[in-house]
């Protein structure tokens, strides 16, 4: 009897260590509405807990108060578009021509609002991977087959398949799956593979063509020959590192890394603020401010 009791106690203690209590657990009698923005500070070393295995679920936010980290307004995190030599990109002639045709609102070649041709200003979907580079408030849900990533900006979502299916073959103007052509999509076709218990590698192909999407707010181009490789590395219970590398031989002469973003697990009770792109609200903004401020 005593033996069984000891086994039970040891078992419960072990379970408590393996599955740490939810740090956001609330008292049943005091449900609240937390601030509707990710704003949790980095976790102190003494408060860190081990990461759960093969689990990225949760609300994730970039470092609060750092606008370049949260929406990469100056260009992708690791290569801001600031004119500095170290941040010049390896454009192909076609890529450079595309870049020069873009009139962005941000970056070294920014124009006033009335002159922009940014698809975002028309409320076009940002697509993949630009959604990774704008207004980072991300909710991840997962099951045995897939992860769903929910983006705050424009309430968009994408699916990453983790059930072992293969990445579609990139072909001219789309992808091929089991010998059948499939059309390009705003978020492309994504598959994920666990490299170890805490690192998920995600590859994406089949995104929209260059006339529909940009890479970032500063008008860097991408094409439908884009390949995106993301790595989600859970460092501990509250921290994750999100890396991204792009390869696009139509636009860039070599692959390059766009971001290595530290993310912090946020309070799961956050009900994020609305950040829809509304054509009527953009129209109102331009009538009240954008056109006149631009000198139009």
């Amino acid at each position: 009897m005593l033996h069984r009791f000891l086994i039970l106690v040891v078992g419960l203690l072990g379970a408590a260590l393996l599955f740490p209590a939810d740090p956001f657990a609330q008292k049943p009698s005091t449900p609240t509405w937390p601030d509707p923005v990710p704003n949790r500070p980095p976790i102190a070393e003494k408060d860190k807990k081990p990461a759960p295995r093969r689990n990225l679920s949760g609300m994730w936010g970039a470092r609060a108060g750092n606008r370049q980290a949260t929406n990469q307004s100056a260009g992708v995190q690791l290569k801001p578009n600031d004119g500095k030599p170290e941040n010049q990109l390896p454009y192909t002639p076609h890529g450079l021509e595309l870049y020069k045709s873009h009139r962005p609102l941000e970056g070294a070649d920014a124009v006033p609002p009335a002159r922009t041709n940014d698809p975002r200003a028309q409320c076009e979907p940002l697509g993949m991977p630009r959604h990774n580079h704008y207004d980072l408030g991300i909710q991840i849900f997962q099951d045995d087959y897939k992860l769903a990533m929910l983006y705050q900006y424009d309430n968009r979502w994408r699916i990453i398949w983790t059930d072992g299916r293969s990445l579609p073959t990139l072909v001219d103007g789309g992808v091929e799956v089991d010998g059948q052509f499939r059309e390009p999509r705003w978020f492309g076709y994504s598959v994920g593979k666990w490299l170890d218990d805490y690192t998920l590698e995600v590859r994406t192909v089949g995104t929209m063509p260059e006339e529909r999407v940009w890479l970032d707010n500063t008008g860097r181009p991408i094409s439908d020959q884009l390949r995106v490789t993301e790595t989600f590395r859970r460092l501990d219970y509250d921290s994750m590192e999100w890396s991204e590398t792009i390869e696009d031989p139509k636009v860039y002469t070599r692959p390059w890394q766009t971001m290595k973003m530290p993310l912090t697990l946020q309070d799961p009770r956050i009900d994020l603020m609305t950040r829809y792109c509304s054509p009527s609200e953009i129209d109102a903004y331009n009538k009240i401010y954008g056109n006149a401020a631009s000198g139009k």
Binding site: T32, W33, P34, D35, P36, V37, N39, A64, G65, R67, T70, N71, S73, A74, G75, P80, N81, D82, G83, L105, E106, G107, A108, D109, A110, V111, P112, P113, D135, G137, Q152, T218, L272, M273, T274, R275, Y276, C277, S278, E281, I282, A284, Y285, I288, Y289, A292, A293, S294, G295
Partner: protein, 137 residues
């Protein structure tokens, strides 16, 4: 010439300070790299995407009233700086720090606001309280 006129007007209206500011919209040709502070009376506050807009009347020393429109970032960005949907109502007397547009028109990027009760909203160093309507910390 036009920017000179704006700055001259701002001086007449009572500039409280004018200092360089690190660009918020990187590389943008929309704004100058200077900021100035002016007092005015709120006429409207639009809490909207992609940018919030604050209209205020500013009376110069010559008695002329000029409507200024200040652009703030989107609600989810300025929330942590203390701004809320009900931060302002028409008639509120406020002090705003602006980064004016380069074309000389009475428009500018909202840098910081000081309400009549002394509450500061915005991202000047050391500023940014929780603002009206905020939940308790």
């Amino acid at each position: 010439m036009r920017i000179r006129l704006v700055m001259a007007f701002a001086a007449a209206a009572g500039i409280l300070m004018s200092v360089p500011l690190v660009a918020h919209h990187t590389g943008s040709t929309l704004y100058t790299d200077k900021i100035f502070t002016v007092k005015g009376v709120v006429t409207s506050w639009l809490w909207s995407n992609p940018h919030c807009l604050l209209r205020l009347d500013v009376t110069g020393q010559d008695g002329q009233v000029v409507q200024w429109i200040a652009e703030a970032q989107a609600p989810n960005t300025i929330y942590l700086e203390g701004y809320r949907a009900k931060s302002f109502k028409p008639g509120d007397e406020i002090t705003v720090t602006l980064r004016p547009v380069a074309n000389g028109a009475p428009y500018g990027q909202l840098v910081q606001t000081v309400l009549a009760d002394g509450t500061k909203l915005g991202n000047l160093p050391g500023a940014g309280t929780r603002g009206r309507g905020a939940a308790a910390p």
